[in-house]
């Protein structure tokens, strides 16, 4: 039998609690982002009797998107496309400037995992208690703690899936329907799927989602450059580590002898929570003992940075795929440095270009100076350009939306008295909550008459929140110039009777050319 395993288990990670400025920032972002997510569907916005009063609503059935005072119909989908382009450029900008800052602070996977970890810590205690509990047999006590934790996780998952469906229909009505079991099956299915994914991704898969499922770590690696800020360890300041100097020296010598094994550890198949370590270029391998072993560095090898890491990695191994740059190791290390009276920033936001300079004795460069680069400026400019374009497009949106389609089958009709008639399909949209009356008229150098199909006079009513197709007949008297020439220019005007707003479209009248 082969000794190859078909499967390798995930190694559980028990991140320790940490406090500091980045942890506070992450709490703030967690509260704000989750707050926006859960609260938004419940904000009301009055739009008149015929329209929904939910501030943010994606109305799939009627193909409408409501965002406070903005209403977007399906033909204006370019606004959504523009927002997606902005989101893409925004990620380019942030990745180029701050590395995987999205992963570390704002990614839903990170935010919900953070929330689930907080619950875990609250129920089962901090790292050591959880480690003990993990190894403990399944006693009543362990069951009680586990079930409590899972119940709270499940409740959060349910709230997450529940909040999602509220974006697609009136929230209060849907909540009542869900509770009274009257909601559509798709609502329950969506809630069930999102509850399950939240529960599993946030509670059990956690860092595995980032390492194995998400393409972003790979994409982002290609978008970073020397001046991109990322979380890194000042090995030139920290090495050799203060604790176990002698032991490490012996190990280093042993590793030189057994080099293949060392390579194996660095580049072997990584299954179960430990991603391959990709050493930073220009950073000496800390395990090979390239430092002067006699003068200890600032790192006391307390492992605080490893213990707080939600990905379970050691940042001192260098930049690596599994690092989501959540910066919790910075907080943990700063706390220790302060206790032992050393300057903060042994682990810090650094750029790759900082390493050679600082190693040569240069002073640390302010983080913000890394941000001002042509590439970032270009991304920011493109992002602003698309944003300004969208805002501009939003403001020049005509209050009256009219399209005119001349009927070309046939181009004209001869009536019994010889009159030449053209037909036009005029579509008028009314996005407002009340019906609107539009007066249609035409302007042309030729003598043309306008008539509305099925109506006396020239006023057509468009009901609230709909588009109306009004067929319009235009006639030219027998033998007149318009009746006998191939094309005559004409302009349709639509006027909102109530507001006096006007809009026009140009088209042509076709006659019978002799």
């Amino acid at each position: 039998m082969s000794d190859t395993q078909l499967y390798a288990a995930r190694e559980p990670i028990f991140p320790r609690r940490v406090s500091g400025r980045f942890r506070r920032l992450k709490w703030a972002i967690l509260i704000v982002t989750l707050g926006i997510y859960y609260v938004t569907p419940w904000i009301r916005w009055d739009r008149g009797p015929a329209l929904p009063d939910q501030a943010v609503l994606v109305d799939m059935a009627n193909r409408r998107f409501y965002f406070f005072w903005i209403e977007i119909w399906s033909h204006e989908f370019y606004f959504v496309a523009g927002l997606l382009i902005m989101a893409g450029l925004g990620l380019f900008l942030f990745t180029s400037a701050l590395g995987r800052v999205w992963c570390g602070y704002a990614c839903p996977q990170t935010v919900w995992t953070d929330l689930y970890l907080a619950v875990e810590r609250w129920v089962e205690g901090d790292r050591n208690a959880r480690l003990r509990l993990h190894k403990a047999p399944w006693t009543a006590h362990k069951w009680r703690l586990r079930l409590t934790k899972w119940a709270i996780w499940l409740a959060i998952g349910l709230a997450t899936g529940g909040a999602w469906v509220f974006y697609f229909t009136d929230a209060p009505t849907l909540l009542r329907d869900i509770v009274t079991l009257n909601a559509a099956p798709v609502a329950y299915l969506t809630i069930a799927i999102l509850t399950a994914t939240t529960f599993v991704f946030g509670g059990f898969m956690r860092e595995q989602v980032c390492i194995y499922m998400c393409p972003w770590p790979r994409i982002q690696g290609a978008m970073m450059e020397e001046d991109t800020l990322t979380v890194a360890y000042r090995d030139w300041r920290g090495e050799p580590r203060g604790k176990g100097l002698r032991r490490r020296k012996a190990a280093a010598q042993a590793e030189e002898v057994a080099a293949p094994e060392a390579v194996t550890r660095a580049a072997g198949p990584q299954i179960g929570g430990r991603a391959p370590v990709i050493p930073m270029p220009g950073v000496p391998n800390t395990t090979t003992g390239a430092y002067d072993a006699a003068t200890p560095g600032d790192c006391i090898d307390c492992n605080a940075c490893v213990n707080v890491c939600p990905m379970g990695i050691d940042i001192r191994d260098g930049q690596q795929l599994a690092c989501i740059t959540c910066a919790l190791c910075i907080d943990a290390c700063d706390e220790v440095m302060e206790k032992i009276g050393k300057p903060r920033g042994l682990i810090d936001y650094l750029a790759l270009s900082d390493a050679p300079r600082e190693r040569a004795g240069g002073t640390p460069r302010a983080a913000w100076r890394h941000l001002i680069r042509p590439r970032n400026a270009l991304y920011l400019a493109l992002w602003s350009l698309v944003g300004a374009g969208l805002v501009f497009a939003l403001f020049i949106r005509s209050e009256i939306e009219m399209t005119v389609a001349p009927v070309r089958n046939p181009t004209f009709v001869t009536l019994s008295d010889g009159t030449i008639r053209n037909t036009y399909d005029i579509r008028l949209r009314n996005k407002q909550g009340e019906p609107r009356d539009f007066a249609l008229s035409l302007v042309s150098e030729a003598d043309l008459a306008i008539e509305l199909e099925g109506l006396e006079g020239t006023i057509t009513e468009v009901p609230a929140d709909t588009q109306r197709l009004q067929r319009v007949y235009v006639t030219a008297a027998p033998g007149s110039e318009a009746a006998t020439s191939a094309e005559t220019a004409l302009r349709f005007w639509a006027e909102d009777i109530a507001s006096g707003e006007r809009a026009h479209r140009d088209t042509v009248f076709n006659g019978q050319e002799n």
């Binding site: 078909l6 293949p260 194996t264 580049a267 198949p269 089958n409 009709v413 001869t414 037909t423």
Partner: protein, 290 residues
């Protein structure tokens, strides 16, 4: 099982496959992947039992659920028919002239009628209802047999000169080639062309011929007669054409335009829908003119 050699660098066993010195590692699969794979196999087995799957000589296994795409289509058509039953009944019961007062019913009738028209009428009358030589244009304001909703519906239901339906609209213009001399026909063609330009229907030798042979159906003034489907000869519209050659042919041989009796093939709701649709194309009359 043979023991394959281990890779030096990674310590992972190889599969034994080698291409130009490059060997394939036998890395383990994640368990979730394996279980997903097994689940797909189980799914496949269950699926082929429940649904039509295995091809036989002339058909395929029907599956335990007895489901088929054809059955599904029939079900959906039945569901649509059921959903429409109410408004179709209303369409049949409502007086044709009163349909426009009911906005929902009118909209339904026009859209359903448009579909009927495209399927059954557009072959002759054109997809835009603009007609062709011998097939009337339905967009204009000239009607051979009447342009009110009831009259249009009657024409659709019973057809024109259709032997399958005893109630079909029927008339026959004589072939004057057997009655009049060629010179007389030439004079008549000249006279009819003049009438379309506003000429006096009774004037000259052509007027005499017209009053004697044509006025019985086309009227003394040439305004036509809808009871017999005789076209108005004084307007700007020609069914077959107003040039000398076409008119000579029409008078010499006569015409015999036919239309199927759609009442034999469509249900009453469809007949009424298509009549409503044709009426609102631009030429419909509220009541027949006096």
């Amino acid at each position: 099982m043979s023991q394959n050699k281990k890779d030096d660098v990674t310590g992972v066993e190889t599969t034994g496959h080698e291409w130009d010195g490059i060997e394939e590692l036998n890395n383990p699969l994640p368990r979730w992947w394996l279980w997903t794979f097994y689940a797909t196999i189980a799914w496949g087995v269950v699926y082929t039992i429940l649904f039509p799957a295995w091809p036989l000589v002339n058909s395929a296994t029907a599956g335990v659920l007895n489901w088929s795409t054809r059955g599904q289509v029939a079900e959906r058509i039945a569901a649509v028919d059921e959903a429409r039953a109410g408004i179709e009944a209303r369409l049949v019961e409502t007086d044709l002239a009163a349909i426009p007062e009911d906005e929902e019913l009118h909209s339904y009738a026009v859209n359903a009628g448009a579909a009927v028209f495209r399927t059954h009428c557009s072959q002759c009358h054109g997809s835009g209802a603009q007609g062709a030589k011998g097939y009337p244009n339905l967009l204009d304001d000239a009607w051979l047999w009447g342009g009110a909703r009831d009259e249009i519906a009657y024409t659709v239901r019973h057809g024109i000169r259709n032997e399958d339906d005893p109630d079909a609209r029927y008339s026959q213009m004589p072939a004057f080639g057997d009655i009049l001399a060629d010179e007389e026909i030439a004079t008549l063609v000249d006279h009819v062309q003049g009438m379309a330009q506003g000429g006096d229907p009774a004037a000259g030798p052509g007027g005499e011929l017209y009053q004697a042979n044509c006025a019985a159906c086309h009227g003394e003034t040439g305004a036509g007669m809808r009871e017999v489907g005789a076209p108005n000869l004084t307007d700007a519209i020609w069914l077959y054409g107003g040039d000398t050659e076409t008119l000579t042919e029409t008078i010499t041989n006569a015409r015999f335009g036919v239309m199927p009796a759609w009442g034999l093939r469509l249900d009453e709701a469809d007949v009424r829908a298509v009549a409503t649709y044709v009426h609102q194309l631009g030429g419909g009359e509220e009541t027949a003119p006096e």
